[in-house]
Symmetry: D2
Subunit: 384 residues, 4 copies
């Protein structure tokens, strides 16, 4: 057994957060297999990652007493096997006990105060459990994109510091958590499309602190398929004329995306990769619809019209029926272990983990195969 390390989930009581926690405990207890865990590939394990057994989980959420209840709801919905919860009850309650109240952007707390408080939570977590290091992973609800103004607090560390000192609250909530993490010396993973570590001011602060971070927006459904299929069209010189994308999802995330402001963030992220991979913009509707009946499941239907030699018209249509949280949770565990390793290896800045993300920081590479090879290369290098 190695030295204990910490995984701090922002949004710990959400579907992804709870599935991650239940999953880690279940695998550890031998109650579930390791399907979906990318880190189990020898090429990735080669990086020299912490074992799941060494992971201590804590986190922030707005209402910290809902983890167990949410686990039961996920079991009812078929996301986690109902049978395993009783055996994990004790450990789940322990994790729930380690949760702390997060920062609520709708509340009164000035962000300067919040950063201090959240940062203290992280330090306390690390010290209480004797953790070698702690990674903060954002799996909280999606926020709308932030408007970044040159020279403002979202770009300039000194302007930001002054604003916080003056009791102002200029940051999106996701970035408040990142600032707190950096303050506590923790590396960060942004699994959501929220601004989080992507704000210029935080990019600079990570650099100054020499901290590594990864993001953003976990690639688990339609975009994953696109990143596997678009390179096929591109390398085969087939001309994609229209790519329609229809998404139906229920679940907590679906309800949030039903607010068009929040959906905007997601849609922008999804659209850009396709153009990068095909080399030209492609027409085609893209909808994300909230259909409560779908529960924790997502159905993505894509219809691709393309043209081949001599102008012949062809099409590809696919239907993806996936459980988003079950797809996301193992990636959260993978990213946590990889980013902890990066921190240990003194890496800094955006990590080359585009394989996991819709909107890969520090890269314009969206092709899944190439992203995989970049990841394998990094693991080989770090593990050497």
């Amino acid at each position: 057994m190695g030295r204990a390390v910490g995984l701090w989930l922002v949004g710990a009581c959400g579907s992804v957060g709870v599935t991650t926690t239940v999953g880690a405990l279940a695998v550890r207890a031998g109650l579930a297999g390791r399907v979906g865990l990318v880190a189990e590939h020898p090429e990735i394990a080669a990086a020299g990652l912490s074992s799941l057994d060494d992971l201590v989980i804590g986190g922030h959420d707005l209402d910290v007493e809902t983890l167990v209840k949410r686990a039961e709801r996920l079991a009812a919905g078929g996301v986690v096997p109902a049978g395993i919860l009783p055996a994990l009850a004790g450990e789940l309650a322990e994790v729930e006990g380690r949760l702390r109240t997060g920062y609520d952007p709708a509340g009164e707390e000035p962000q300067g105060v919040a950063v201090d408080r959240l940062s203290a939570d992280l330090v306390a977590f690390r010290e209480t459990h004797g953790l070698e290091r702690v990674v903060v992973v954002d799996v909280a609800s999606t926020e709308p994109p932030a408007e970044v103004v040159a020279g403002g607090p979202l770009t300039d560390p000194e302007v930001l510091a002054a604003a916080l000192a003056a009791g102002e609250s200029p940051l999106p909530a996701s970035s408040v958590y990142v600032l707190a993490a950096y303050r506590a010396g923790c590396p960060v993973v942004s699994f959501t499309p929220s601004p989080g570590p992507r704000l210029p001011v935080l990019v600079t602060l990570a650099e100054q602190a020499g901290l590594p971070w990864a993001g953003s927006d976990g690639k688990t459904g339609e975009t994953l398929l696109k990143s596997a299929l678009a390179p096929m069209f591109a390398t085969r010189a087939l001309q994609v004329n229209a790519w329609a994308s229809y998404n139906m999802l229920g679940g907590g995330d679906g309800a949030t995306l039903a607010d068009p402001d929040n959906a905007r963030s997601k849609l922008v992220t999804k659209a850009q990769g396709l153009e990068a991979m095909l080399g030209h913009p492609v027409e085609g509707p893209m909808h994300i619809d909230y259909v409560p009946d779908h529960g924790d499941w997502k159905t993505a239907i894509d219809h691709v019209s393309f043209e081949g030699f001599l102008g012949v018209r062809m099409s590809l249509q696919f239907t993806w029926n996936g459980c988003d949280s079950a797809l996301a949770a193992p990636l959260v565990l993978d990213l946590a272990r990889l980013t902890l390793r990066a921190h240990q290896a003194d890496e800094s800045g955006p990590l080359p983990f585009g394989f996991f993300f819709k909107d890969p920081a520090g890269s314009t590479e969206h092709r899944l195969g190439t992203q995989w090879e970049e990841l394998v290369a990094w693991c080989g290098r770090v593990g050497a």
Copy 2:
């Protein structure tokens, strides 16, 4: 304009053969664009390929007077634009004039005699048109797999020579053409699943002659999709439990495949790649059905059941609606140009062109992305 080179099509009057010919002429005449031609990618062109303008086309078929008629049928079926045929009539007739009667395995001609005759056709073609070199591409009807017996004529050059000298005809027809090609010093591409150059005896003969060859079985539909999608499941550590494959096709090829003996060859080819990419065998029906109403179009419907973290069950289904000949023809042109370049560059043995093939000779790599990178690397090296 470079030095003229030759493309010799075995099965020149079939759908693929005629679409290849019409396409090359149309592109040359500015009547069609270059969509679908992989060689137009700068990374591939970097190999220093002959221009389409320098390509002289000839070929073998059983009935050599059907090229123009087949072109009209393909136009009626929407495979080639009806409008362009009149402008190409003269050139098409010229190509038809260059066709020679092939080897008919149902006929009486002993294979030794056939090899001499076909080989002489190739030499005459090269000399008449002052061609620098000629590549032979097999786009004839699919044959059943051959039974290879150690020490027999399909493995041992001397036993083969003796058998041919004795008036025996031990080879599948596709291999008769390959033997004739090697005799004439021509490199070979096997675009079909037929044995062709894959027989051990021909692998040895190519080696002895220092000739390059590529094959086999053009990857244009369902298998193409599989080679793009299976690596996604594999790298994401998702466990594929069943992969069902349903194919409907009309057209000449469809009729041939309706004969279960011939289909066997195709099915075997298709099945093996999936297992290689996923790392384990996968259950799932695979059917190829001849549905005349589909004409030159193929509909492939695949249904993939897979399992993710915590045993959650998910699925992917796709429908591919493609025009096989339109997908195949540009690849035939690409392969011809690449293989001519390989010959010029004194490469020998099986070429690393798995990107184009369902059953890549000399490789167990089936992942499209990796095959693309191997191809790009080869082009870079040869073109340096």
Copy 3:
């Protein structure tokens, strides 16, 4: 050969209008079969319908010199067989010669004047060609829904008359045509979702004039499928929880629907039938997207989530790939012949032709099977 009758198309130069015209001429000339013509069923023919041979076609459009050009565009798009146009050139030109400039709601012409003018066009058409009777079929662009105010010109014939006399223009364009038709003693078919004959004032006027009319909004794609499938769920007591509808269409109609104001009319029409057939409202997104690359083709993708015994969750998904104009045109011919027969038989008011329509006038029956039986019963009765 029977007595000649007239078909007057409002929107004669649109996709549906031109396909109707080309189709009628082609069938007549023996250049096309009768697939898609419902009137060919013996149960329908039993009504005693005019022959297609007796149909003289004319119509209104905004720019009346585009019929032939549009026919060529439709041929290029594969909607009508390119080969038949030359043989029909003379007759098509004749029809084009019979077209008259319609009423442009964006123009200056007062509606009172327009009604007189359009009505005179109809009378002249009838007299010039010695037609027994003329039916007016609206296949013009979709208009937004009209706002009907009790006691206003859209409900009260006298208020309308006064308004028109005063030089006002209170009617949607589609209703101007209907008023003109009734003035000329012509029955009407509304193939579009536009208000047309559905305004209360026109319902009254038809009644007063003893004229029959039919409408509205031809049922050719997704809604057709719904009317075939929803009764299955209903009679089997399966509970539909969500029905998502995604439509992609190019073509002239698609461009019009891209204007959300016009699409509203279509979406409202589509939503109501489902609820009527299932007996309860059903959640589920409905989108109509304009994807120019689809040309005259429509792809409708529907995803139905339903629940069976013991709460078990199931789904049905379908993809309909249809050529809207080719589906609509024969129905236009059917409706014309049926409505002419109704006129001859002195029927009046809304006809029981719900089989053809998304929004059947005078009925809440949306089930295709039942609508078919109603139609057959009517034909039997009228033909007896």
Copy 4:
């Protein structure tokens, strides 16, 4: 509460049998709703049916101690809600206690002996529980079609009687049960494609005994869809050129169908309806594949190519994802109650219940809508 009636399931321990039993008990106990029960429609209830509360269940199977175990397996597979089993444990055990060992065609028991024994089981069941009447429903494994020879024991009651008396065993097992039922004065429902009551000899014997019977082969998946969709193509005069049908199923039934002999029975049943509804034979592959990973779920993928006006080519594809047993079980309950009512009402011979069946006895009507109306009419008549 009415007088108690009996439902005797042949194959009581199979998926359909157990789901029927669990479902009836759960509905009765208020633990499940009535979704899927056709008899809940007022038009059907109008026949005056027994309440589910009055139904006593018993049955035959080969191994009679597996009902509870199978229920647990179905709960694990998501077919019946896991949560309800504990509350039903007592009643389930009671039903298991009422099961009797069936007739095993692989065993030694002469059929004459078996008929006596099975018949006695039915009589004992009726008397022990004071049942007004008992209906026998066959939900046992599918058998291959029987070869009926004119004048043989499968056509002539006297020849059959003589054969049985002589210790011969000429009947398929499903027909042994029917003979026993008739002997005991019980009406019969054949929910399987097995010969059962369809043998001419049994048709005659039912007639002689004045007993009603219904069958055969419950219509729950692809064929259900076909019977809803084919009439749409037919009434719209669209020409279906090819209808491909691909079925994947796991479960007990899937394993049985993997034996091609048994599948033949199912395929024949499925093929005939389409031709009847469309009015002409239609090409198109039909496959039923056993894919264990699908468990109790069936995926049916159908691809329909059709032609419209002017020869335009279109397509419809659907994917049905259904839980066969959950679809079948409520129909078994419906059929039991309807057939008991028919018996009470002194109906005899094949009942007009085609709405429920792939291969409706005594009818060539396959259109779901029309079958529904026939059923409603019967219920109205019987209930009047």
